[in-house]
Amino acid sequence: MRRFVRELRAVVGPDGVLDEPGALVAFAADSKVRGMAPVAVALPTTTVQVQDIVRLCGRERTPIIPRGAGTGTVGGAVPECPALVLDLSRMNRILRIDENELLADAQPGVVTGEFQAAVEKVGLFYPPDPASAATSTLGGNAATGAGGLRAVKYGVTADWIASLEVVVADGQTIRTGTRTRKGVVGYDLTRLFIGSEGTLGVITELTLRLIPKPKAKATLLALFDELSQAGAATVAVLRSNITPAAMELMDQTALAAVQDHIGDLLPPNVCVLLIEVDGDADEVAKQANGIRELLQGVNAREVRVANNAQETQRLWSARRAISPALYEMRAQKFSEDVTVPISRIVDLIVGATKIAQQHKLVHASYGHAGDGNMHVNFLYDADNPDETRRADTAREELFRLTLSLGGTISGEHGVGVAKRPFIAWEQGPALLDLQRRLKRAFDPLNIFNPGKIFP
C-alpha cells in the first residue's frame, strides 16, 4: 500500500493524493448512501494522469471509483470494497467554447452551474439543469445520465453530449461520437457511457452541444387543491401544442418544507405546478397566455404569471431546496425518481398517496412532472425500527406500482448501490446477462467501480 501511494504521488504530485485516515472518511458517502472509506484518493488534473492511474490500478488490481461532486443519490461514487477514489474535482477547466459550431469542450470536474454561466456569458445556452447544478459536475451528470428541470422541452444530459473522451481499461484513451450534427459510424458508445456510473471507464473530457440562449422566459404558477388535479393538468399541457421548458410539481408537504423560501407567495394547502416558458419575447407571451387559458379550463384554482425576477427566483430556488429541506421534517427519507409514461402520471400520484396512507407514512411528491418523473418521498425516522420497516415496504410497493404502469424505477439518478436489488424487477435475465458481458468486455480486470448497478 505504501508503495502504491508513493507511485500515485509520483503521478499526480504530492498534494494530489490523500491517504490520511481522517481525510478518507470524507469519501465514504455520497448525498444518500454510506459505504466505506477508500484506501486513498487521487486528484488528477490531466487525462494523462488518469491514464497512468488506471494502469497502476490495473497492475495492482485496485478498484477505481470515479467521483465528481458526490451529489449522487444511489451510492455510485461510494466504495464498497478497498478501493481508490478518483476525485475529478481538479479537472475543472472549460477548454473551449466554439461559438461557430455551438460546441464546448470541458473537463469532467467542471461544475455544471459554472459551465452554464460561462456559455451564457457569450450568449449561448446549455439546457440540462439538474436541481443540483450549482454543485454537481458535468462528468457526474454524464455518468449518471442526469435529468433536470428543463427536460420537458430540451431533454436530458444525454441529449447534449456530442462526444466523450474516456480512459478505458489498460489506460487507453478513446473518443466516442463525433463533432458533427449526426454520425452513425460504429456503435453509439457515447450513449453507452452515459449513465454507466463509472463502471466502464473514466470520462476525462466532454464535448457538449449548445444553442443560442433564449431571449426571454416567464414563470407561471398554477395552484390546485388536489395533487391529482395538478397531475391531470400536466398531461393536458403536454398534449397541447405548447411545450414549456420546465414543468415542476410540488405537493403540500414539499411546499411546507420550503416555507421559508416561499413566505407569503402562496396560500396554505395548495399543490403547485411551476411552469417555465422560454423563447422570443412575443412567443413567450403567447405561450404563457395559452397555458393560462388551458389550465383555467382544467380545475386550477388560480393561475398567475410571476411578477418579477425576484419572485421568479424565489419560486425556483424553493423548488431546488425541497430535496434537502425534507430532511428537516423527518431524519430520513426514501426519495425515488420513479418515472412513468406521461399518461400515467395521475395513476402514479394517486397510487403513491395510497401506499403512504396504507403504511401511515408522511410522504411528499414533487419533481419533473413534465417528463413523467416524480420524486416520491417517504419520510421516516431511522431510530424508529417500525417506521423504517414500513418505509422499506412502501418503497418496494412504489417500484411495483411504477413498473405495472409501464414505468422505470429510475428516471435520472441511476442504480448504483441503492437500486441494485431491484434492477431484475425491471430488466429480464437475458438483458442483464448481456450487460454483464459488456461490462467484462470493457473492463476485464473488473476495476472500474466493481459491483455497482448489477447484483
Binding site: E20, A26, E328
Partner: protein, 403 residues
C-alpha cells in the same frame, strides 16, 4: 449543552457548501469543505480521539460561515468546528505565538529587521494574553506578511482609564488591534463622538477572548471573558461601543456560552444587549458624515455579516453619508478576506490566495479608499494591497468617517 452528534447528523450531505466555501474553492479538496470536515469530526467523535492530522485539518476552516448561508439544514459549521477544536485539545497555535518566537533567538535572526523590531515591541507593549499576539506568530513573518507601523504610543496606553462625559454614559471597547496597534481608530471614534458632545469611558481593558475561543482554547477564552466583564459591568454604561465588529460579535453572541456553567454567564447574557457595533449604533442615531462622492470599497467582516446585531449597517451608513459604495458581484461581496483567526498565520499562502480574489476585484473598480470594520481583516487587506503595489488607502471605517 449542545448535542454535537445530533448537530452533525443534520448535515444531509447535499454538497451545496462546495459552491461557496473559499478554502475548497482553491484546493478542490472534499476534506476542505463543510461536508468533509463534518465527516471527519463525526469519525473523531465516534472514536473519541483527535490526532495531529485532525487538528491540522480543523485549522483549515476559516469559520467564516459562508457555508451556513447556503445550507438548507442550517448546519452551524463554524460552531461545530470551533467546538471540535476545543475537544481536540487543539489551541496549539498558542504555543507558537510570539512568546514562543521570542524565546528562540535562532529563528528570530532569520526574520527581517522590521519584523524583529515589531515583535520586540509587541512583547513589550502588549499584555501576555492579548489575542493580538496570536496573529503575529512566527509563521506570519516567515511568510513575509505585512508588518504594521509601530504606534508611538498605543491608544490604550495614552487614554485608559478615562471616565465618560456627556448626556449619555457610553464606553468604548477597542479590541486588541485598535487598542494597541492601529492607534488612529480610537482617536477617530473619539472625534466622531465629540460631534455628539460625548466622551466615551475607556476603562482599563484587555482582549475579548475571541481569538482564543475561535481556536478552541476555552480556558483562555473564559479568563478573557471574565476579565472583560470585570472591566465593563461595574460602569453600568448606557452603551458599550465596539471598534471591531468581530469583538462585537463575540461579546453579543458567544459570551454566555464561553462562560457556560459559570455564575457570570447570566451577567454576560444581560450585558450582550448593551454591546453595540460602533457603526450600527451610529446609524441608529442617524449620525452622518460627509463623504462627498468618494468611491469606497467595503469589506464587511464575516462576523458582521452573520453574528453582529445590525452588523451590515456600515454599508447604508456610508451611502447615507454621501459615499459611493462599490458593488462587487455577490459571491465576492460576501467572501471572507481569508484571514480568519489563526488561519492567516498557519496557512499564510492559502489565506492570501483567498483574499487576493476579493482585493483584486476591489482594485479593478479603482476605489478612493478600502475600508473594513475589523482589525484582523484590516491587516489582511493591507497585506494584499501592499503586495499588489497599488497605492490605495486601506483603513478602518471609523478613520474614514472621522474625516
Amino acid at each position: 449543552m449542545t448535542d454535537w452528534a445530533a448537530e452533525l447528523r443534520r448535515c444531509v450531505r447535499c454538497g451545496a457548501c462546495r459552491e461557496v466555501c473559499p478554502v475548497f474553492d482553491l484546493t478542490r479538496l472534499e476534506t476542505d469543505v463543510a461536508r468533509g470536515r463534518l465527516a471527519r469530526i463525526e469519525q473523531c467523535d465516534q472514536m473519541d480521539r483527535f490526532v495531529t492530522a485532525d487538528r491540522d485539518a480543523l485549522s483549515r476552516c476559516l469559520q467564516c460561515g459562508r457555508c451556513v448561508e447556503v445550507c438548507q439544514s442550517n448546519v452551524r459549521v463554524p460552531d461545530i468546528v470551533r467546538d471540535a477544536k476545543a475537544r481536540s485539545g487543539g489551541a496549539t497555535a498558542i504555543e507558537s505565538s510570539v512568546a514562543g518566537a521570542l524565546g528562540d533567538p535562532a529563528r528570530l535572526r532569520r526574520l527581517t529587521k522590521r519584523a524583529r523590531v515589531f515583535l520586540a515591541w509587541l512583547a513589550r507593549a502588549t499584555p501576555d494574553d492579548a489575542g493580538l499576539r496570536l496573529r503575529f506568530a512566527l509563521p506570519y513573518f516567515k511568510a513575509g506578511r505585512y508588518v504594521p507601523r509601530i504606534p508611538r504610543r498605543s491608544y490604550l496606553a495614552r487614554v485608559a482609564p478615562r471616565a465618560a462625559a456627556g448626556q449619555e454614559r457610553v464606553a468604548l471597547f477597542l479590541g486588541c488591534g485598535a487598542g494597541h496597534l492601529f492607534d488612529g481608530v480610537g482617536d477617530a471614534i473619539d472625534a466622531i463622538l465629540t460631534t455628539m458632545q460625548l466622551v466615551a469611558a475607556v476603562p482599563e481593558q484587555a482582549c475579548c477572548g475571541l481569538p482564543a475561543w475561535g481556536m478552541g482554547a476555552d480556558r483562555e477564552a473564559r479568563i478573557a471573558a471574565a476579565n472583560w466583564l470585570e472591566a465593563f459591568v461595574p460602569g453600568d454604561y448606557d452603551a458599550i461601543l465596539c471598534a471591531c465588529a468581530s469583538c462585537a460579535a463575540h461579546l453579543q453572541r458567544n459570551l454566555p456560552e464561553v462562560l457556560a456553567g459559570d455564575r457570570r454567564a447570566d451577567q454576560a447574557a444581560r450585558i450582550a444587549d448593551n454591546v453595540h457595533d460602533f457603526f450600527a449604533w451610529l446609524r441608529k442615531r442617524n449620525w452622518r458624515a460627509d463623504l462627498g462622492g468618494q468611491r469606497i470599497a467595503v469589506h464587511l467582516p464575516c462576523h458582521a455579516r452573520h453574528d453582529v446585531r445590525d452588523g451590515e449597517a456600515l454599508i447604508p451608513l456610508l451611502i447615507e453619508s454621501g459615499a459611493t459604495v462599490i458593488e462587487l458581484p455577490d459571491a465576492l461581496d460576501q467572501a471572507c478576506c481569508g484571514m480568519g483567526g489563526a488561519f492567516g498565520v498557519r496557512h499564510a499562502e492559502l489565506s492570501r490566495a483567498i483574499g487576493e480574489k476579493k482585493v483584486q476585484a476591489m482594485l479593478r473598480e479603482r476605489p478612493d479608499v478600502i475600508v473594513t470594520s475589523c482589525t484582523g481583516c484590516l491587516l489582511q487587506l493591507r497585506d494584499l494591497v501592499e503586495r499588489s503595489g497599488a497605492r490605495v488607502r486601506v483603513c478602518h471605517a471609523a478613520e474614514l468617517l472621522a474625516g
